[in-house]
């Protein structure tokens, strides 16, 4: 459907740290700041982890708990990976468990055999099975499969502990200095923004997120931690060897068995082993995916918060732009000719339930936002009125159509909350690229989120504010 609607031909401009132009369907609208927000001007937070194949939830708290109970290297392996599901090492599809019946001798009477079930892992896509790498069939359906151990586990463990301690100490010193110097400006150092500053070795996020914006308590947390790990961890530096294992003698003459050679992608998905041969490719536990929530950076309100349950696709909070801002879509484009006036039919859809008044304004000469347009555009000067979105309109045939008295030169048609209108385009450049036009759209917005004061006036609970957006349309190439 996205390719049919071609949403990327109509771009809305977002005023953030960077000026971003993107289709309305990818934008969010902060109704507290009354501004459009794109994915780059919001902060992303991880809500929970879940496995995409067994849909088992693992909230971040439980994942952290697992960390504290086991050793660190195992944490990095088992954390953020599902315990039940495996990935095919050959094609990265999810592995399924299959059962076969094998005759096995009864424990009491070795001469008789009964059928026992044996389980193996198989990939439905590339037909890889666990028997291909020599893994024996297991007698239990799940939980019997182990990943091979990395011989360097211990060394890596120690190194990680040492560096985490080092990072802690550095952070402590940095924070003490900041606190000492910047007493009156304390909030700056500990605002939510510092959470997103690159943390060394991934330690800080866990501690700081629990106490946002509270400087003294976070320091207390750090010192407590250090109080526990009083012992110093010393590591031996790595030793350089003079002699390297020589290459095998038939390295250059041995013919390559192509099916046995692993591809780069297969190799790098297992960074601790990186097997060169396909017979050493063991399955790995499946990586967890995250559910994320978005937060406006200026007012710290949530823009998007999904439901906790991995099987649910709904949102608790969903402030997407298409449900607040009228959307412009291109309906039909005639043949565009250089320096000739053409009429383009656009549609405007009203997403809210009240009547919306929209005014279109062309861009002035030298408008700093207008950098891409290659044609002159004449937009209708009159105000366009859009009816509210009525959910029951399809079913209610007796409703009288509202009389809006449209100018037939401007408004082509009107259908519930949508109108079609004409703009005149004169392409100014005879070049190979697309003809691009831009204009500003000004509409009224009723903010339902604002706190309702105990009304002194009787009616009019909310006042309308006028919002202006800069819209760019890509109309396609010039046809001579």
């Amino acid at each position: 459907m996205a390719s049919l609607l071609q949403p990327d031909r109509v771009l809305y401009l977002v005023h953030g740290e960077k000026k971003i132009r993107s289709p309305l369907s990818t934008l969010y609208f902060c109704r507290y700041c009354s501004e459009l927000r794109s994915l780059e001007c919001v902060s992303h937070e991880v809500d929970s982890h879940y496995c995409p194949s067994c849909l088992e939830n693992m909230p971040s708290a439980e994942a952290k708990l697992k960390k504290n109970r086991k050793r660190i290297c195992n944490q990095l392996n088992e954390n953020f990976r599902c315990a039940n599901c495996f990935d095919c090492p050959c094609c990265m599809h999810t592995l399924s468990t299959r059962a076969t019946n094998i005759p096995a001798p009864l424990p009491d009477d070795p001469s008789k055999t009964t059928m026992k079930k044996a389980y193996y892992l198989a990939c439905g896509f590339c037909r890889w099975t666990s028997r291909d790498v020599g893994m024996a069939d297991k007698s239990v359906a799940s939980g019997g499969w182990q990943e091979p151990d990395n011989p360097h586990t211990q060394r890596i463990n120690k190194l990680i502990e040492y560096y985490q301690q080092l990072a802690q100490r550095e952070k402590l010193e940095r924070d003490r200095k900041k606190l000492a110097r910047r007493r009156p400006y304390m909030p700056l150092a500990f605002s939510q923004h510092t959470i997103h500053v690159v943390e060394k070795y991934g330690l800080g996020t866990r501690l700081q997120r629990q106490r946002p914006g509270a400087p003294i308590t976070s320091l207390a947390g750090l010192s407590l931690k250090e109080g526990e790990d009083q012992k110093e961890i010393n590591i031996e530096p790595a030793q350089a060897l003079d002699e390297v294992e020589p290459l095998p003698e038939d390295c250059y003459t041995r013919p390559i068995n192509l099916p046995e050679v692993t591809s780069l992608r297969q190799r790098l998905l297992q960074p601790d082993f990186q097997p060169a041969g396909a017979s050493q490719l063991h399955p790995k536990h499946k990586h967890l995916l995250i559910k994320r929530s978005l937060r406006c950076r200026k007012c710290e309100h949530n823009l998007s918060k999904p439901e906790f349950n991995p099987t649910s696709i709904k949102f608790k909070i969903q402030l997407v732009a298409v449900s607040y801002i009228p959307e412009v879509r291109i309906m039909s484009i005639p043949n565009l000719r250089f320096q000739k006036e053409c009429q383009v039919l656009l549609t405007l859809t009203n997403p809210v339930e009240n009547i919306t008044h929209v005014t279109l304004v062309g861009c002035e000469e030298g408008d700093p936002e207008d950098i891409n347009s290659t044609a002159k555009v004449m937009v209708p000067t009159k105000e366009l009125v859009l009816a509210g979105k009525d959910a029951a309109a399809d079913y209610d045939e007796l409703a009288e159509p509202q009389d809006f008295q449209d100018d037939p030169d401007v408004v082509a048609f009107r259908k519930s909350n949508k109108i079609g209108f004409f703009i005149k385009v004169v392409p100014q450049r005879e070049e190979d690229g697309d003809v691009t036009v831009s204009f500003k759209i000004r509409h009224d917005f009723r903010n339902l989120a604002a706190p309702i004061r105990p009304s002194e006036e009787g009616d009019a609970p909310t006042e309308a504010i006028w919002l202006t957006h800069h819209v760019e349309l890509s109309l396609g190439p010039i046809i001579a």
């Binding site: 094609c91 896509f125 590339c126 037909r127 890889w128 099975t129 028997r131 099916p259």
Partner: protein, 195 residues
């Protein structure tokens, strides 16, 4: 060269061995021999244009599968001097829904998955699996136990052949006659008698 009379006679009807289950809705044209225990689903098409087709036993040919022995592209159908080539299909093969096979020689225990496309010059040995939507039209012999999968037709070798679908075949041979009419089988040997 076979004279026109024998040519016409050999194109008359299919030679279906006893024990094979061939639905009436399937289209079988030309000189086709079908072995016992083979199941041909309705809407399957087996077309022997440029030569006879010999299908072994225990094969499973699903709906909308097309097995065609066609003329090479640059040769007109009526040219003299064209030898009819026989297409041979072994035992225990599975032709899944919607696949197209023009390969002249297919061995045993192969699986051709849905919407796969085999060209005229490919020769499948045994135990091969051609994945869904994979087009194989190279001029080569596919080694045993090869799996072709993915949108780029990646290949790998598996250690064991795909199992013959005996359970499925038994089930179909019981259930299909309940819902479809079957084509008549011919008593006798499965190989065609030729002068």
């Amino acid at each position: 060269m076979a004279d026109p009379n024998t040519k016409q006679m050999s194109q008359k009807s299919a030679n279906i061995a006893a024990g094979a289950v061939v639905c009436v809705e399937s289209e079988i044209r030309g000189d086709v021999t079908i072995g016992p225990r083979t199941v041909v689903h309705p809407k399957a098409r087996i077309i022997a244009e440029a030569g006879p087709i010999i299908i072994g036993e225990g094969n499973l040919i699903e709906e909308q599968a097309l097995i065609i022995n066609s003329y090479p592209e640059n040769i007109m159908p009526d040219t003299e001097g064209v030898e009819p080539k026989t297409m041979t299909i072994g035992i225990n093969n599975v032709f899944e829904v919607g696949c197209v096979s023009q390969a002249l020689k297919i061995g045993d225990n192969n699986v051709i998955e849905s919407k796969a496309d085999l060209g005229k010059n490919v020769i499948l040995t045994s135990g091969c699996i051609v994945g869904a939507c994979c087009q194989v039209n190279t001029c080569e012999v596919i080694p045993e136990n090869t799996v072709i999968y993915g949108s780029n037709c990646m290949r790998r070798v598996q250690t064991e052949r795909p199992q013959p679908q005996t359970l499925q075949l038994d089930f179909l041979m019981k259930i299909l006659p309940n819902y479809h009419h079957m084509k008549k089988t011919v008593k006798g040997t499965s190989t065609p008698v030729r002068n």
